[in-house]
């Protein structure tokens, strides 16, 4: 039969088939795993999928596809009936048939010319040999055979049955075995004769709909469109124009069956066990031919029109035993089918309709479509509004309408983007197969774990990540995961785990490929690098382990002991790296020898529309995707000299203690002065270019003497009309994977959502652009590729060194850094308050302060808040009189108290040592120089005790009552200032205190049995041994298991908190929050550690 030339139908079939085949591989593998204990639901699911493909293919005249799926279906049927054990061999055969099936469907037009006899033979072979393998099966089989022999002679079992209409017209030739299979379990065989025109087209159906409907309730055996029988014009009145025959079986009774497929009963026939057809009803007008044509096996009397309902349903059941013959004899019967395919060659060599086999359509949730529809409707309404208001020149109406357009557009955009989103699971599941096959090939035992299949990504990205991921998985399988014996020796469990996981984070999709294999040995990488000789040995020696491991992303690098078939030859990770970079993603690797390797991939959600920053470089506008932006920095001219440094050839920006490589965009882009001159010597932008070029060389050239620098600055100011532009640098800090760097641009323009357009092929090989876009004014602009820029400038190495150096520096800095709030009371007197103690800061009017019975209060959140002034307690200058002042609110004894100050200056992280002697007085803890001023560190509790002694007394009694007074606390703190503070308030609360100045001292003090420590308060950052290490040391000893250890920190929300808690620290407290500290100390002394006593 020729292939049906209906593009729409073919396309639909292709898509549905693809959908059907999607999960099959994984299912096959599951079936294999379960072995004899088959999960019939699963087998049925696969069976149905293959069956649907067969049905569709048969209908469309794709005979080869039909035949192959038919053979697969037979094998599956045996598995389903427990007549065949799904051994790895069987499944492998099925899988390879599936591969071919997939190829056939991808190139369906040429499918009929493909020779699939090998697959069919293989499938038959596995189906046959398995049966006698199991004894019980054999017994069963012989039993059924005995029965079947009783019913019919053996030769008839594998015969071909012709299904013939009562009119004598042959419709199908089908293997009897298939028919009987279909008629099993009380199902009744029906033949339905649709009229393509009246029954399908006019009812707005497609034949595929019909097939689907049938499959929902029954089993499709065969279907075809009978083009040959299309009559001449004369016959038109009596015959259906194009008959579409469907042979199927269902348990539904003849009275209901026609309703199922929405067909007049007289167009349906019931087929009895002798394969004779009986119409379910009289044709209304059609002159029925009562004489049936001669049938191949016509020994029975001719069929009369029987009332449909009267046909006993049980009849086909009687045929059941016949339907379970050994599969062996059934097989040869099918020989004819595959042979039929080549014969059709000539017929199918017509002009092929021009259908692209790539998936060009997309399934969209109807809800989403409705949303789109609604939005489109709204857009139309708004347009009307816009036009109306425009004509009336109604300004406020216009504004409204414009706002609505803005809103609807973004919603529309979002909805349309959603239609493109697809779950990543479709990519992940295909790795089931890859891992399965490779484990076999390599003799490794690997289990694939998949997480986050439902994470959605743009269609284009989904399509593009397949290859890089395959490569990574193969790489892990081949190089990462060890052979079973190696794993056993290393005491690692089998099977090895390969994990694919996806999750959303910060507007990006993260994909991790993790294995628990051998990991990458930086030393091996190092040797290899030295061997390759491409990079300086000195440079290699300087590399950190992480850097070395990352070298596998370099072209032509492989650590495998030998090149294997599986993971290619050297073209590997570099391809992955560049492919993912092209998608706007980044890759990083983390590896520990003996433990495993994790590859982190970050991808944007979509590539089509991206929020971007538009910037100006040399008069041209460029876009940088927001995802790559870290921050924008402006360096005023006065600071240029201090903050921009030069090391070797690189310019570096000093940013919060870190050094950041910076480059001029104009330098990367090689914007030459002569470039514009040649084209338009007169443009203003031209002169400006020169100036900026010179300016660029200023910072990039080695700094000579300061005097010269000044001269240059002056010269610039003198010649340039745009002083403001000249005086400062705009730096865009961007992130390219693991690297942050700064781009110097002329101006920052706007932030816009841009639509990415590809650049023409003439720009291939230029890595600095990610594409182009069209800006609001209709002009084209280029999108900068931050990855490409960084590689063009070769920024990588510089950064690594800096990070490590700066990390050390940072660590040093963060030691005992205290977040302090700087305030003024009198204009020239500066105070500091530990930020951790402050709940809130409120701005109030001086006139709102009330004085009641000697206390200052203010109405605040429905109650009165007690206020203190610093000068009430300490001998300092009185507060500056101002209309608006600030209240610093902090908790005290379960209430809130406010301290009045006149001005908030800043919040700083200070590491300066505090002088406890010079300015010591009530309400002041000590002093230090902060921001060039002598600053008094306020003691909020001291102020309160001075202003409201009764409150403090009350509080003290309360605490003392709670404690038994005899507990001993060990305080470990390296700063004597804090040590004294903490010691002071714990002792005054009635505890015995032992002190230590660092972790080692602390541990020793704790281990000393004479001290009899009940609880430990420790700082985290300390010299020699920090609080976490000390805790680890103590927790390792059993007798400290029940002793609570509380950490005291100066910065709230420290990132190290988790590390500390993992080490066994019970709670994290803020150093000078004495109330909380005392409360928790008391709590832990009373209740012990949770889970201990």
């Amino acid at each position: 039969m020729a292939i049906v030339q209906d593009e729409e139908l073919l396309q639909m079939f292709i898509e549905e088939s693809k959908e059907h085949m999607e999960g099959i591989e994984a299912d096959f593998l599951d079936i294999e795993e379960m072995g004899e204990e088959i999960d019939s639901d699963l087998v049925n699911k696969v069976f149905r999928a293959i069956h649907s493909i067969k049905g569709g293919a048969g209908f469309l005249g794709l005979d080869t596809i039909k035949n192959l799926s038919h053979s697969m279906e037979n094998t599956l049927n045996l598995i389903r009936n427990s007549e065949l054990i799904p051994s790895p061999e069987v499944i492998s055969t099925l899988l390879s048939a599936l591969d071919t099936l997939r190829e056939l469907i991808a190139d369906f037009m040429g499918s009929n010319e493909v020779d699939i006899s090998e697959h069919i033979a293989d499938l038959k072979a596995v189906s046959n040999e398995e049966t006698p393998a199991s004894e019980t099966k054999q017994a069963n089989a012989s039993e059924t055979r005995a029965e079947s022999e009783a019913g019919e002679s053996e030769t008839e079992e594998d015969s071909i049955v012709n299904i013939t209409l009562p009119s004598g017209q042959p419709v199908f030739s089908i293997s009897e075995y298939d028919l009987k299979q279909a008629a099993k379990a009380g199902r009744i065989l029906y033949l339905a004769r649709f009229d393509m025109l009246n029954d399908i087209e006019r009812k707005n159906h497609t034949p595929l709909d019909v097939i689907k409907e049938i499959q929902d309730t029954g089993m499709l055996v065969e279907s075809k469109v009978d083009i040959e029988s299309v009559g001449t014009l004369d016959d038109l009145e009596e015959h259906p124009l194009v008959p579409f025959y469907v042979l199927f079986s269902t348990v539904l009774e003849p009275s209901i069956a026609p309703k199922l497929i929405n067909l007049d009963p007289w167009k349906m026939y019931q087929i009895d066990e002798n394969f004779l057809l009986t119409p379910l009803a009289d044709a209304p007008a059609e002159p029925e031919n009562p004489v049936p044509a001669p049938k191949p096996k016509a020994k029975k009397k001719k069929v009369k029109k029987v009332e449909a309902a009267k046909e006993p349903v049980t009849k086909p059941v009687a045929a059941e035993p016949v339907a379970e013959p050994k599969p062996a004899p059934a097989a040869p019967a099918k020989k004819e089918t595959p042979k039929a395919a080549p014969v059709k060659k000539a017929a199918s060599k017509q002009v092929r309709p021009n259908i692209s086999t790539k998936s060009t359509t997309l399934r969209v949730n109807v809800k989403l479509l409705d949303t789109l529809m609604n939005l489109a409707g709204e857009l139309v309404l708004t347009r009307n509004q816009l036009l109306q208001n425009f004509n009336k020149a109604d300004e406020s109406g216009l504004e409204n309408a414009v706002q609505r357009v803005d809103l609807i557009t973004s919603e529309l955009q979002e909805a349309i983007m959603n239609t493109r989103m697809q779950p990543i699971g479709s990519v992940f599941t295909k790795f089931q197969r890859v891992v399965h096959d490779m484990s076999k090939n390599l003799g490794k035992q690997v289990e694939l774990v998949i997480e986050g299949e439902s994470v959605e990504l743009d269609k284009t990205i989904i399509e593009a990540i397949g290859d890089p991921l395959t490569h990574l998985v193969r790489n892990s399988m081949d190089h990462g995961i060890e052979m079973p014996d190696v794993r056993a020796k290393a005491g690692k469990k089998l099977p090895a785990i390969l994990k694919l996981s996806a999750f959303h984070e910060a507007g990006q999709v993260n994909i991790d490929v993790m294995d628990d294999g051998g990991g990458i040995d930086p030393q091996v990488v190092k040797e290899k690098l030295i061997q390759n000789g491409e990079i300086d040995k000195a440079k290699i020696d300087n590399m950190s382990d992480n850097e070395l491991v990352r070298m596998i992303f370099k072209p032509g690098f492989s650590t495998a002991k030998e090149v294997t078939e599986v993971s290619g030859r050297g073209v590997g990770m570099d391809v992955v790296f560049s492919n993912l970079s092209k998608l706007g993603g980044s890759v990083d690797i983390e590896s520990k020898v003996g433990i495993g390797t994790t590859i982190h991939i970050k991808l944007p959600l979509t590539l089509a529309i991206i929020p971007s920053l538009i910037l100006d470089v040399a008069g041209g506008r460029y876009a940088i995707p927001q995802v790559n932006l870290v921050e924008l920095v402006r360096i005023p001219a006065a600071q240029v000299q201090d903050r921009i440094e030069k090391i070797e050839d690189a310019s570096l920006l000093r940013l919060r203690g870190e050094l950041l490589p910076i480059v001029r965009v104009s330098d990367i882009l090689n914007i030459k002065r002569t470039f514009y001159d040649s084209e338009s010597g007169k443009a203003v932008s031209d002169r400006r270019r020169n100036i900026s070029d010179r300016r660029s060389s200023d910072i990039l050239a080695p700094k000579e003497t300061e005097a010269e620098q000044e001269i240059q600055e002056k010269r610039k100011e003198g010649t340039d009309r745009r002083k403001n532009l000249d005086s400062a640098y705009n730096i865009v800090v961007v992130n390219a994977g693991d690297l942050n760097y700064g781009l110097i641009v002329d101006a920052l323009l706007d932030s816009e959502e841009i639509v990415v357009k590809p650049l023409g092929r003439h720009f291939r090989g230029i890595t600095t652009y990610a594409g182009a876009t069209i800006l609001g004014d209709g002009k084209a602009a280029l999108i900068l590729d931050v990855m490409g820029l960084s590689s063009a400038m070769n920024l990588k190495v510089v950064k690594e060194k800096i990070t490590e150096a700066s990390l050390l520096q940072k660590l040093e800095d963060s030691k005992d850094a205290q977040s302090l709030l700087l305030v003024n009371n009198a204009a020239d007197e500066q105070f500091a308050i530990p930020l951790g103690l402050v709940s809130r800061i409120e701005k109030i009017k001086t006139s709102d302060i009330e004085t009641t019975s000697g206390k200052k209060t203010i109405k605040y959140r429905g109650s009165s808040l007690v206020l203190c002034s610093i000068e009430d307690a300490a001998n300092v200058k009185p507060r500056e009189e101002k209309e608006n002042i600030f209240v610093i609110i902090f908790p005290f004894a379960g209430k809130e108290v406010g301290v009045l100050v006149s001005e908030i200056i800043d919040v700083i992280d200070s590491t300066v040592a505090i002088d406890e002697e010079t300015f010591r007085q009530p309400g002041v803890l000590g002093s230090a120089i902060m921001m060039d001023h002598t600053t008094l560190l306020l003691d909020l509790y001291g102020i309160i005790s001075a202003v409201m002694p009764d409150w403090v007394a009350e509080n003290k009694i309360e605490i003392e009552q709670k404690t038994d007074g005899s507990s001993t606390i060990l305080i470990v703190e390296d700063s004597s200032f804090f040590l004294n503070q903490i010691k002071g308030f714990t002792e005054s609360a009635g505890y015995n205190v032992v002190t230590a100045m660092d972790g080692i001292e602390g541990a020793e003090a704790a281990e000393n049995p004479n001290n009899n420590i009940d609880l430990i308060l420790t700082d985290i950052e300390m010299p020699q041994m920090d609080g976490v290490q000390m805790t680890e040391r103590l927790r390792a000893q059993e007798r400290f298991n029940s002793i609570p250890i509380l950490a005291l920190t100066s910065v709230a929300g420290d990132l190290a908190e988790q590390r500390a808690i993992d080490a066994g620290i019970d709670e994290y407290l803020i150093k000078l929050d004495r109330e909380k500290v005392l409360e928790r100390v008391n709590h832990y002394l009373k209740n012990g550690r949770p889970g201990h006593e």
Partner: protein
């Protein structure tokens, strides 16, 4: 675009000028002819690329024919036109100095490129059309747009 293809019947040729060279291009190769489009320079691009332009939502690469022919670039003026062609499924613009005419040319009046026209521009021509007073060089678009410089 090649002589062979047009060896029978009448062909419509669009005639334009690039510097001193009169060029011809079959109008079947031409999508449209534009007046001045806003041009965006692309730094680091090959010299013959004048820039990119927004053609109703599509970014097109604009090629400066003067530079292709080894001439000095020229400012846009009243007569400057961009001839938009399609090649490898991509729209590109050819920057030319002036459009002259559209002529119906019988195929037999097209002649192969004389061997003495060689040098820089020679390989960009696929034939010659003799007009009344001068010659027009039939452009070989795929050679002009090829990436091998």
């Amino acid at each position: 675009m090649s002589v062979k293809k047009t060896s029978s019947g009448i062909q419509e040729l669009s005639i334009f000028e690039v510097g001193p060279i009169t060029c011809a291009l079959s109008i079947q190769d031409i999508q449209e002819i534009n007046k001045h489009l806003e041009m965006t320079r692309v730094a680091n691009a090959p010299e013959y690329i004048r820039g990119i332009s927004n053609l109703r939502g599509t970014i097109i690469t604009v090629i400066d024919m003067r530079i292709k022919f080894g001439l000095e670039p020229k400012e846009f003026d009243e007569n400057t036109r961009i001839v938009v062609v399609k090649n490898h499924d991509e729209m590109l613009g050819l920057l030319v100095d002036r459009m002259l005419d559209v002529l119906n040319v019988p195929a037999e009046e097209l002649e192969p490129t004389p061997s003495n026209i060689s040098g820089v521009a020679g390989r960009y021509f696929s034939g010659i059309y003799k007009m009344k007073s001068s010659l027009a060089a039939l452009l070989n678009i795929s050679e002009i747009l090829s990436l091998n410089e």
